[in-house]
Symmetry: C2
Subunit: 359 residues, 2 copies
């Protein structure tokens, strides 16, 4: 294991000639006591200076500050936090898949909002493995994180109930928790998708496909509901031929689109349920939106340059709101759980609405 405190065996060699360049630690970190000794005051007085208490003479304060600077003193927050009931100022954000740019934008929003409240963000990934979720969370709780922000992966978050009762706020992002009273921030999945599909219908489309995977996700189910709802309103009661809801291990969105286009009555428009599906659709269609209209859920880099219409939202706003919920919950642990919906809006760039359907 890693242990930097184990001094190297250098002293065993009386004359280490081939000694490498940088030096290891000579002295250890200065403590309040060290500073106090140098300044000729008690550790407590140093503490007062560090904490900015007013009950210190200007003269003493300067002496102490000089000593602190000389010794490169840096207060030990571990000790401080222990003393104060093990309350830290780190908030954990537990993500499934770190490589999804979506979550990083969320993380950016969280980081920024938390920083404004003196809180730091610790990032932990579960690699989309439900089993590792509890393990990761457990590790974080041992570190006494102040609150937990998470994109729930496991099918059950009941294991957090005890912790919640102990006062650790839990805020779920993108999907609600299962079997746990927790605040959550989600997208306007249903309405956003329904509105986009309604737009396609208004443009004359009837055969509208929906491509998405994995189908089991809360977000995708909501979007699917929105899709179906809009079609139902238009009198299309069975959209199933155009639904492609493959699961993670099945065919990719790219395959699904090729499959759709090969149908005897191919769809005239495609809606992608998430940004990964969007990538697949774009690859399969190769920018030929004269043939098939396309709207993706979730904006992406250069979608504007490519003229692709999307159901967009602000991922950073998701993070910001979640962080705000954390802060609010820390301020007031009591109070009914909240669910915030982040609005989506259709950005029309040509791929979805300017198309004249073939039939």
């Amino acid at each position: 294991m890693i242990d930097p405190l184990v001094s190297s065996a250098a002293e065993a060699v009386p004359d280490a000639t081939a000694r490498p360049i940088p030096t290891a630690q000579a002295q250890s970190r200065a403590t309040l006591a060290d500073v106090g000794r140098l300044a000729g005051v008690s550790p407590k007085t140093v503490s007062r200076v560090v904490l900015g208490s007013s009950n210190v003479t200007q003269e003493t304060r300067e002496k102490v500050l000089a000593a602190a600077r000389a010794l490169r003193f840096r207060p030990n927050h571990l000790a401080r936090n222990l003393r104060h009931g093990s309350v830290t100022n780190t908030v954990a954000f537990v993500i499934g898949d770190l490589t999804n740019p979506f979550y990083f934008l969320v993380a950016a929003g969280i980081e920024r909002e938390l920083a404004q409240h003196g809180l730091m963000m610790i990032l932990a990934a579960t690699d989309d493995d439900p089993a590792s979720e509890e393990r990761v969370v457990e590790t974080l709780l041992k570190q006494r994180v102040r609150a937990l922000l998470m994109v729930p992966i496991a099918s059950d978050q009941a294991y957090l109930e005890g912790e919640r009762q102990l006062g650790t706020p839990v805020v779920c992002i993108d999907r609600p928790a299962h079997n746990l009273i927790a605040d959550s921030v989600v997208l306007e999945n249903f309405e956003g998708t329904a509105e986009a599909v309604r737009g396609l219908i208004r443009a004359g489309h009837r055969r509208i496909a929906f491509v998405c995977s994995p189908a089991s996700l809360y977000t995708h189910q909501e979007r699917l509901r929105g899709y179906r709802q809009a079609l139902r309103e238009a009198g299309i009661l069975d959209p199933s031929p155009w639904e492609r809801l493959e699961d993670a291990d099945g065919p990719t969105a790219e395959d699904s689109v090729r499959d759709l286009l090969a149908m005897s009555e191919p769809p005239t428009a495609i809606v992608a349920g998430n940004n990964r599906a969007s990538s697949g659709v774009v690859r399969a269609l190769g920018n030929q939106f004269e043939k098939v209209a396309f709207i993706g859920f979730d904006d992406f880099e250069l979608a504007d340059a490519a003229g692709i219409s999307v159901i967009a939202y602000d991922p950073a706003e998701l993070g910001r709101q979640a962080a705000r919920l954390v802060v609010a919950r820390l301020d007031d642990p009591i109070g009914p759980p909240q669910q915030i919906e982040i609005p989506t809006r259709l950005i029309q760039r040509g791929s979805g609405e300017l198309v004249v359907p073939l039939d």
Copy 2:
């Protein structure tokens, strides 16, 4: 300020009828002593069980584990770490701009590699503000992070020298540190760019532009050097008319490209120095690579679908290597500083090499 320990004023109201739904913390967290009391053993024995010491009867162990489970005991790592010399298992990654997707991918690589060594990643942003770098780092050091990973923003990291001597590894990412002996992981900026430009020259291009900002960055300077080197090899000694190295507040890459195209002798090929510049170029050119060839530094989502050639590398690998340096340095604090170069490779997708120059 935030303080969840402040109990609500509920007890002042004898009969709180309009009480909200969830409950606040009833009891506090169990400690080793609590578990010991319940199991009828000393705290030390509980500690032994928790740490997995062998010198405990099977019977005692089970009693203790049962008690721990009953009390939902969770070891306090703050106390543990304090006891052990304030050595934590969190490593900080200090980034300038969180919204740059490049850094996400780096962070993902870091997180993954660190996790394999039982280390956690704490993310902190400086918002590309050199002045806030030291402040942010200082805060992190108070938390006693085990090591520091950073993308240096400030023009001087000498303030970390003391900390380095105390044994905190510092690894710089993407650019080397200034005035500080530290390990670093950088890209093959010079060679990667030179090779790409050589390719354009081989394809017959002579008027090759370089668009990038801000010009002051180490990475961009290296890339610029590579660009000039390749041109020099081809006998083009003064590329300055085609260099567009505007700084952050100046015109955007998009503007620069329009400007270039409006020249009396416009470039036949453009090289972008980073992914932001690439976006700008793509927007300005609008995919018309028949007119002007294009190669960007740094791959991006859907560059493949758009057929854009890039100088690519693996950002996650950057992170992984950096994390590995941290771990190595923790194992062996002595040893000469290392600089690792992450290889780049030219991915030809059509925008750069299949073009027939106009002249």
